[in-house]
């Protein structure tokens, strides 16, 4: 598992795409948090005009960015192995499929952690200006890690289904985008009943917003961990199932 994790990290950081992603991510998050999301929320104002020393707009932007970026990190995980014939090498290793899946997944979570670290300048800036709020910032970053990890698991599952990286990306983008947006459309499912409860339960963006507001609830943490575990299990089954195709 460790060797697979190391190889995945090596593959990520020996490609230009890895460095581009690392450089673009904090810039894109900064632009979205400083200009785009405050403008949407405050009708045209930038973060500088809101006179709010918080990371609220950063954490509002994150689920949407994660829905687009996490599938991009995960899309090559299995699709590339299928296309490059190296999947045969993995299947002849004396290791069960779940360990291979775990190795690849932990590598992608490590990349997510590094990406989040690159945004560390934002809370530092806020703290330097006297706006430090520990609860929402810690909760928000925990939410970023949990939501990102869940979306990575979805991306990895999509990648395990096909040798086409673009196809895997589009499928995962659709799934993650839907989970992010679900909360916004919960009203359409009515205010009560099984469908409404289901939609609200599945709304990953809403679970994330609770954490970003500083509410650390077991239910929310369990939701993201269960989501990741569920899709990783499907991935392991899908990888193992290839021996029977």
């Amino acid at each position: 598992m460790i060797s697979v994790l190391r190889r995945e990290l090596l593959a990520f950081f020996t490609s230009a795409a890895g460095y581009v992603l690392m450089a673009v991510f904090p810039v894109a998050m900064g632009l979205l948090a400083l200009f785009v999301f405050p403008a949407v929320l405050e009708r045209g104002a930038s973060w500088f005009h809101t006179k709010e020393l918080t990371m609220r707009s950063f954490f509002l932007a994150f689920p949407w960015v994660a829905a687009a970026v996490m599938p991009a990190i995960a899309m090559r995980s299995w699709a590339e192995e299928y296309r490059g014939n190296t999947f045969q090498l993995l299947l002849t290793l004396p290791a069960p499929s779940w360990r291979l899946v775990a190795g690849k997944y932990l590598a992608s979570v490590a990349v997510l952690c590094l990406m989040l670290l690159t945004t560390g300048v934002f809370p530092v800036m806020i703290a330097a200006n006297g706006g430090w709020e520990g609860g929402p910032i810690f909760g928000g970053y925990l939410g970023c890690l949990l939501l990102g990890s869940g979306y990575l698991a979805i991306g990895m599952f999509a990648s395990s289904l096909t040798s086409n990286q673009l196809g895997a990306y589009m499928a995962a983008l659709l799934a993650c985008g839907t989970l992010t947006a679900l909360g916004s459309f919960a009203g359409l499912a009515g205010s009560s009943g099984a469908l409404s409860s289901m939609v609200r339960f599945m709304a990953a963006g809403d679970h994330f917003n609770l954490l970003a507001a500083g509410y650390l609830k077991l239910e929310t943490v369990t939701f993201f961990i269960s989501m990741a575990a569920f899709f990783l299990m499907l991935t392991a089954l899908g990888v193992e199932g290839r021996r029977y195709r």
């Binding site: 190889r7 299947l91 002849t92 290791a95 021996r243 029977y244």
Partner: protein, 242 residues
């Protein structure tokens, strides 16, 4: 001892392998021949645990390949038709990954790495990215990963494909040397003279069925006079496929 017992495998309605059985012991080199689509690659994939059989069993010693996959896979080396290479890696880096993923410790890996690099003629290219290697050297890198963990059973799908004549002779020497160490070697090829040159046993299959299996000397002299493998192959394949 490798025992393949009535393995069958279908892809949808296509029956790729139909009750294939054979047994070979330590030190044997089995030449696996058959027309395109005969079921060679499917059989090799099942023997290595890469693919599940619909029915039948494969035993390496006392262990069944699909019942105890991790145990048996650590004793099998496999070179597929297209070598499974991470082309962005350097040769030694790739082999280190393969060894670590197979659970080899640092000292054992260091020793085996030097050994296989020397045996496959890759020592001078150990620090080259695989993407810059010629087809022949890529084939050697693929073979090196199959040999790295010192397996009891080596399964090679067209191992001399892409090699020049001198490299083919080197490969033959290498396979003979491995068999002399008591390893079981199975290789598939379309070059029948290659089988005649190095195989101790021959298996001919077509349409997933075994047409002939036995020691080379017994098979090629079976009708009372010496005959070539090409004649035997053509006669068997045409008889079943007029």
């Amino acid at each position: 001892m490798l025992n393949v017992e009535a393995i069958s495998r279908s892809y949808g309605r296509f029956l790729a392998l139909n009750g294939l059985s054979f047994s070979i012991g330590k030190g044997a080199i089995l030449g696996f021949v058959g027309p395109n689509g005969a079921g060679k690659t499917t059989a090799m994939s099942i023997i290595t645990g890469l693919l599940a059989a619909d029915s039948g069993a494969v035993h390496l010693g006392d262990d069944e390949v699909h019942a105890t996959p991790s145990l048996v896979k650590s004793r099998i080396g496999f070179l597929p038709e297209t070598p499974p290479l991470y082309t962005a890696m350097e040769v030694s880096e790739y082999l280190r990954f393969c060894g670590e993923a197979r659970g080899m410790d640092r000292q054992q890996l260091g020793e085996r790495l030097e050994n296989v690099l020397a045996n496959t003629g890759l020592s001078a290219r150990r620090n080259m990215p695989i993407s810059t290697l010629s087809r022949g050297y890529r084939q050697r890198a693929g073979l090196a990963q199959a040999l790295l963990h010192d397996p009891d059973l080596l399964v090679l799908d067209e191992p001399t494909s892409g090699l020049d004549p001198a490299q083919i002779l080197d490969m033959h020497e290498l396979l003979r040397g491995l068999a002399a160490q008591g390893k079981i070697v199975i290789f598939s090829t379309h070059i029948l003279s290659e089988v005649e040159a190095i195989a101790s046993h021959i298996l001919i299959i077509n349409h997933g069925r075994c047409l002939a299996f036995g020691e080379r000397s017994a098979l090629l002299g079976a009708d009372g006079k010496e005959r070539g493998l090409t004649d035997l192959f053509i006669s068997l394949v045409k008889k079943r496929n007029p």
